[in-house]
Symmetry: C2
Subunit: 345 residues, 2 copies
């Protein structure tokens, strides 16, 4: 027999095996294992010994089937590129294992059959957190109607489905105003409001800041179609491919990866940051402080976002009714915006 194809010395032991060995019924085995019902300490010891000797552990699917409960939760996100998602996931996972729950994940990518996969996922967990616009709007409510509590992350809540998010309007206004105050006048917003409610909110605040400054509201963002470095690079190359006064002198990027792409584009075009072009990001990646030049960005509590979502989800699973939660982000001035005075690391 092939060594890599294990077969167990005789398939896994079950409750009956343990019960027989301990000379009790399966009900008693279940009781000592779950630590509920009453059981004589002497019996308990005998059963415990039998379990140990056989190396028994309960079948997860059987438990789930009988107990109608999975001891598992899921996180659904759009993609997995970049620190933002990995930090959210990290917070979510940490909180889940703290409660001894298994963690399932699903990256939606840009697949079209996401709703089907999400529904499948829903059959494997007790509750799930859904980020952004990863699935059709109705699906979340639908999943929940099927008995699986849902929590939304980085998007507004909908009927009966609470959400946790980071308020992006204030920092965006602060950032935009700061930029406008220090020179750049032809700012371009790099990011795709269609892809994420968070970014849509920032796009609006970006316009508001222009209005407050008495400037014309930019008519449309530069849609990137994604939030990765190469998206930022391509868009920046396209938008900067102009001479003279028409060329943008500031790129307000929806995340640090897009900003990184902008750095690439600027280097390729021989443009200096921040002299020829101001660039700002969002997320405050640890590397941002040591870029050339250090990147002005916005720090948002990504880990907390994931942990908080998990926490609220568990509260719901415990039967509590939870409300929306909004966390705050803070503007971090460095030097890529052209303002040297307040620069910090």
């Amino acid at each position: 027999m092939d060594a890599q194809t294990p077969r167990g010395s005789a398939s896994r032991p079950n409750v009956y095996d343990v019960a027989r060995r301990a000379g009790v019924s399966i009900a008693t085995v279940s009781r000592v294992h779950r630590g509920n019902g009453p059981v004589a300490s002497e019996t308990r010891a005998r059963v415990q010994a039998a379990m140990d000797e056989l190396g028994w552990s309960p079948s997860v699917p059987a438990q789930a089937l009988a107990g109608d409960n999975h001891n598992a939760v899921a996180l659904v996100f759009p993609e997995l590129v970049g620190r933002y998602y990995s930090e959210v996931l990290r917070g979510f996972e940490a909180e889940a294992v703290r409660r001894q729950q298994a963690v399932l994940i699903l990256a939606a990518h840009q697949r079209k059959d996401n709703d089907a996969m999400v529904r499948d996922l829903a059959g494997r967990v007790d509750g799930m957190v859904i980020m952004d616009r990863t699935i059709a709007d109705g699906t979340a409510a639908d999943v929940q109607r099927r008995g699986v509590p849902v929590l939304l992350l980085a998007r507004p809540s909908i009927e009966d489905v609470p959400a946790v998010r980071v308020a992006g309007a204030d920092p965006t206004r602060e950032l935009t105003t700061h930029l406008l105050d220090h020179g750049p006048r032809r700012l371009v917003f790099v990011g795709d409001p269609e892809l994420s409610p968070d970014v849509a909110e920032r796009w609006r605040a970006f316009g508001d800041a222009h209005a407050v400054a008495g400037l014309a509201r930019p008519t449309s963002p530069v849609a990137t179609g994604g939030y990765q470095q190469h998206d930022g690079r391509e868009v920046a190359l396209a938008v900067l491919d102009t001479d003279g006064d028409a060329r943008p002198d500031g790129l307000v990027c929806a995340n640090d990866q897009l900003a990184l792409g902008a750095y690439q584009a600027a280097a390729r075009l021989g443009l200096s940051i921040p002299d020829d072009l101001a660039v700002t990001g969002w997320d405050d990646d640890p590397f941002a402080a040591h870029m050339d030049p250090p990147l002005t960005t916005v720090n948002q509590p990504m880990y907390d976002l994931g942990a908080c979502a998990a926490e609220l989800l568990f509260e719901r699973l415990d039967g509590d009714v939870v409300g929306d939660v909004t966390l705050t982000a803070s503007f971090v001035v460095r030097s890529s915006c052209g303002c040297v005075e307040g620069a910090s690391r």
Copy 2:
């Protein structure tokens, strides 16, 4: 009734409901659903309609229990900080969903009860990939003996448990020799061989390169106790806190995050990179090329590593016997090592 506490219009429908509605037996329902056994096309249509109307989908735990198969796989890793892990996870997840398998994850952190959690995980999946030294050496073999095929990642294979990894010795020798050839003589290896077989391999190659250059083999690395930015910063601050000829003039870091920490330390101590201190990383984070100065590092195929591990795991689940796989990494010269000529972005 509380709106957030869903209850389903009457709990989920099951095969019996579908069967009754279609006027057939549950066996037939199962047949049309699984698309195996013979069934009259007219009957099939009727059953299909009933399934659609009721919105039925099979209970995952029930399927797992009856079919002895989870349609799920797991990835266990030490932590989730940094691009390395998130990229490996990304590759793993992508390959898994491509095969319509659910993905479970577990970050071991530095918990002591990892083995227990891994065993629990093993009860939820058909196979699992384990990274590094996240669990006691015997546990992997043990899990596999219980019938769950295991694949090792970023560590050597053990009896009957194949592994996929990146060869780190060559790039390390290349990097170290490059450094030694261009000035720095008092190199320090920053990283913890105890924590990861990959790093242990590089530590050995680091010594080999010294020997080949006719230099004394460094006696011990600077153990970091972790691979995060702050680990690198603290260790660098400690090791650089010396004046004159005793101070190291080169830090060979086990990953880019540690190198980032070294940048922080250098800045704090007023040391210039690369003039006073050469620094190299590992992983080639996208930000590395745009750091100040651009970071010399080693590019390794992290996404592929995860995808490949998943692929091999699935081959094993399909009954194939698989061998070890070794991917290659490549040295990327930029300017943090003090060598300007070959610098690239």
